[in-house]
Amino acid sequence: MGNEAMTRAAIEAGIGYSSTYPGTPASEIGDTLSALAKDIPNFYFEYSINEAAAIEGAAGASWIGIRSLCTMKHVGLNVASDPLHTLAQSGTSKNGGLVIICAPDPGSYSSQSEQDDRWYAYHINMPILEPANVPEAYEFLLKAFELSESFDVPVLLYPSSRVCHSAGKIQLGEIKPAAAKGVFKPAVSRYVNASIVSIANKKNLLGKIKKLRKKTAQLAVNRVLEGTSTTGVITSGTAFGYTVEALDLLGVYDIPILKLGLIYPLSPEEIQSFVKNHNLQKLIIVEELLGFLENEIKETLYDGGIQVELHGKDTFPAADELNVDIVREGLGEIFKIELGDSYKAIMKKSTKAKSMAPPREPTFCPGCPHRATFYAMRKATNREGVFGGDIGCNTLGLRSPFALVDWVVCMGAGLGVAQGISHKSDQPVYAFIGDGTFFHAGMTNTLNAIYNNANMTLIIMENHWVGMTGHQPTPSTGISSIGDPVIPVQIKDVVKAFGAKWIRTVDPYRVRSLIDTIKDSMSQSGFKVIISDQECSVQSDRRFRKSLREKEGRISRTYYYIDPERCQKCKECLQKLACPAILLREENGEEIISIEEPRCTHCGVCLEICPNSGVVETKVNIHLEQT
């Protein structure tokens, strides 16, 4: 995987510090470093509380001469951007390169937006390297450290989700061990970014970028695929691959292609000579998302007094992910090549087939405590009120049959927006937040809401893991960033310390008790906190299956099944709880509702909610012995 290749490169580069906040598509970098942390010499790893904490810590290590890596998803850079704008002015150090991996998500498969982080390059004045595939992701990471150290700037590596989650082959290199410790040497003119120092540092940073523009060739990350045509392409990252394959399918092999690896800053000299040397009459720029390269290249050509017919975002879409077909259609239009009847027939048939398929939206896993919480919310509130949603698995509460998420904005904004509404509306106001998000951005908003006496209920869905991104620990898990046991933070104590007066902790599997608690909160005024506390069922089920597999220990397990004699077919479990482990089938013209045992995680919520005792439980004690 691309994420593993970059992790390997970072270890070879001798990183001594790495920090991250998990986020798809970058999560597996941190996870791999967490798993390997104890085996890498002189290495410190942390799952930070958020991206700002992550980048600040990494900069600290960089300043004292330790190579540091900070990883995040694209929207994480928004959180990190506040410190990063100023950290970039202070620079890195001679042996302490600072590399940030920020992974974009074109198509927004797992994000609230597909924002184009490349534009941060203008704000922060930070070089960006964009790999097209796994071998480049590996190679560019090593080069990013050299660049960061030789130009004294943090460097952003920008692998798209397709690169992070793709396979490829790399040639492994030697691992360079990290320095054990560094020493901080005070330098007001470098680190104290106040007033005059800040301006001086900014001028200095602009100078570094200017110098880099002249030396991009030395990095050897840009290259030309030669061709004799007077139409040329400039492209980068995954768009390069789409372009090459689209040209292959169009049967065009003579187009010169300038493939950029360093996408900021560009070398005007390199762009201008690519156009001049190939006598280009037409220049096509193929890039994901907005016209960032197009903007830079147009400026460069204008400065060089070069006139050329230019196509970019006039042909290729600026929203949603590109692919070979979109690029093929665009290039076909420019080259006036018909795509043929078979292409059109394929598109027509596949569109017809798609329209036959009922939609399949993601939903909570079997046994997910969030499902029980949303079920209880629906019962208790009858969907009357305002419901703020947040980032993480609990966003899925927006789906049928719950439909209890009125907005999703960014980490912590469920509560933030809700408290604003609560001051100016008489509607009952609720907000949901997971424990990972609570620690990331929810704590400050909770304190704000308590201090300003917001009249609302906050439901903290504490499942003890960052679920959506692959089960990283949170401060309430009881496991450190590198897997050692630690004392878990009690969220109850945190909100109590903030001044919350009405706090209830309920196990959501005890649905009826949770419904009563929610109703109780509705009769109170002021800021109410309900902690819905139950571990992520994927994690608890994994442990159960592991002990079964390894045949160790003694397990007590309650199994559930639906007794067809007693089931009244009210479909409460099937349609109102909507557990994916509960199935409806027809037998001899009769509907049968049953629990699909291999998918059941034995949470017991179906028994709890069954209005006519159709669900039956059996307690089983399993004594496992190693055989």
């Binding site: 292959d248 399949r360 959506m468």
Partner: protein, 213 residues
């Protein structure tokens, strides 16, 4: 240089990521094959639609590598799939843009009804209609029920993936041998190794049997 493209479609939690990893891992040591591919992760996973792609560019021994004719994109262009493995019937309907007459379609006929059917009452199309639609896109369609085969032989659904990999091998279109896949399973799967080897054979045989009948 020959491109071989495999598309895997299914529902989050069915194990398509593991399948994709095995199909990529198996050629890692082979210097004549360039491999790429990608899969859906994160929010898109939870019981939702998931896709994985595996793309090989196979160089004949002695043939020179040609960057302009190799695989680059992690996604498969329209009509270019050689094998299309659908782990769930309605999911088979969603990504047929990669299918053309050259594609071998393998359908796992075990249905997982989406919430839109269970909760909102949208009709789940009949299997026969789905198969007919698939046949409109490519005549080469084989349906097997990997879930039931796995449950019957091993008591759970976990080996369905390996059964389907066995079926994919039986198409003869993968640039790998049966033995190479068997070795990859032994080297990479930690649990129930012998059951997985058995599942591979079950899928291989089931495909050939369905093909001949």
């Amino acid at each position: 240089m020959k491109k071989v493209n495999v598309m895997l479609v299914g529902v989050g939690g069915q194990g398509s990521i593991t399948m994709g990893e095995l199909l990529k891992q198996v050629v890692m040591e082979n210097s004549n094959i360039v491999v790429t591919g990608t899969e859906t992760r994160g929010a898109a996973q939870r019981e939702g639609t998931v896709n994985s792609t595996i793309r090989y560019a196979v160089n004949e021994p002695g043939e020179e590598f040609d960057e302009r004719r190799s695989v680059h994109s992690q996604l498969i262009p329209a009509g270019e799939a050689d094998i299309y493995i659908a782990l769930e019937p309605v999911e088979a309907l969603r990504s047929l843009n990669v299918v053309s007459e050259k594609t071998s379609i393998i359908l796992n006929s075990y249905a997982i009804r989406p919430m839109s059917c269970v909760v909102d009452g949208v009709a789940y199309p009949e299997l026969e209609k789905i198969v007919n639609m698939l046949k409109e896109c490519s005549p080469d369609v084989i349906a097997i029920n990997g879930n039931e085969m796995s449950r019957e032989a091993f008591g759970d659904f976990q080996k369905m993936n390996i059964i389907l990999i066995g079926a994919a091998l039986a198409t003869g279109k993968l640039p790998i041998t049966y033995e190479e896949m068997e070795k990859t399973i032994r080297d990479n799967i930690k649990y129930d190794v012998e059951d997985n080897i058995k599942a591979l054979k079950m899928g291989y045989d089931a495909y050939l049997q369905a093909k001949s009948s």
